[in-house]
């Protein structure tokens, strides 16, 4: 299927979910006023991908900031990944956080406790 590629802006992250290259990444800032509208195409893409996912899907989340309105949309993305995992396909989520950013680490731990998909917390040391 066609990849979904969205360029980042100061308020929205870059998104690249490309089955062919095996790259699944959300990167940057996610602080739009209307997060639902922003994440809708990605969740629709995942709805299609779920029909025939790769044997292993590794998703990298490298967020610098995200607002509470994005937090629910990101959870919706993870719930789709959880469904793929439930259908006996490997899924792994790499949650990157900057050194000393305990809030971002805790946010990753929140998702890890809600979503039944293996999470890896990866500290970025500058």
């Amino acid at each position: 299927m066609e990849p979904i590629i969205i360029e980042g802006t100061p308020k929205t992250p870059s998104i690249k979910f490309d089955e062919k290259d095996g790259i699944f990444e959300i990167k940057g800032r996610s602080i739009p006023e209307n997060s639902v509208e922003f994440y809708k195409p990605l969740n629709e893409w995942l709805d299609n991908y779920m029909q025939g996912p790769l044997d292993k899907t590794v998703v990298n989340i490298r967020l610098e900031y995200f607002n509470t309105s994005s937090s629910k949309c990101i959870l919706d993305v993870f719930k789709r990944l959880e469904a793929i995992h439930r259908s006996k396909h490997d899924v792994e989520i790499n949650w990157f956080y900057e050194e000393d950013d305990e809030d971002m680490l805790e946010a990753g731990e929140d998702y890890d406790s809600i979503i039944k998909v293996p999470f890896k917390m990866i500290e970025i040391v500058e």
Binding site: I31, E33, N67, T68, S69, K72, C73, L75, D100, D101
Partner: protein, 184 residues
Amino acid sequence: MSFDLENLVSDLDIRGAILYFKGNVDSEVINKALDSVEGKLLTSRENPRLRKKVYNVLVESLQNLYHHADLVPKSYHAAKPDRFGLIIMEKTGKGYRITTCNFVMALRIKELEEKLTRINSSTQEEIKELYKDILNHQEITEKGLGGLGLIDMARKTGHRLDYRFKKYDNLHSAFRISAVISNE
């Protein structure tokens, strides 16, 4: 003298503030406020941990005004844009204080006050659990997630949220809320 939203912050140092805005809090205003504050925080060489917390709380404060400010009473003396609010960010001895003011309909006060009382009487661990519970179980609304912004502010700052209401008329009150982000 007629009531102005500014009356609610007469005890704060508007002139010395890092950020002060009163008016229609639209996307463009939010962008400019965030850019301006981020630049100032970088220039002042605040440590990254505090800088990030301040930025996060500022985002939630501005977007609370954007999503939840109720309409301005018809009898209010000044312009009445759809998203009328006031924001002031000050440097304090140990960090920063971000205060916002807006109008709320009288019928929303009870619910808002209950939410804030619950947040302020919770431990940090309880706030964390509350956040996760709402995140996982509440449906997203057109206006965003109901009240998750306030919980997030309390969680990130580790401080109680200071708030007050001032009755404007029988249908409307002015609402002020402050979050303190300290370098501790």
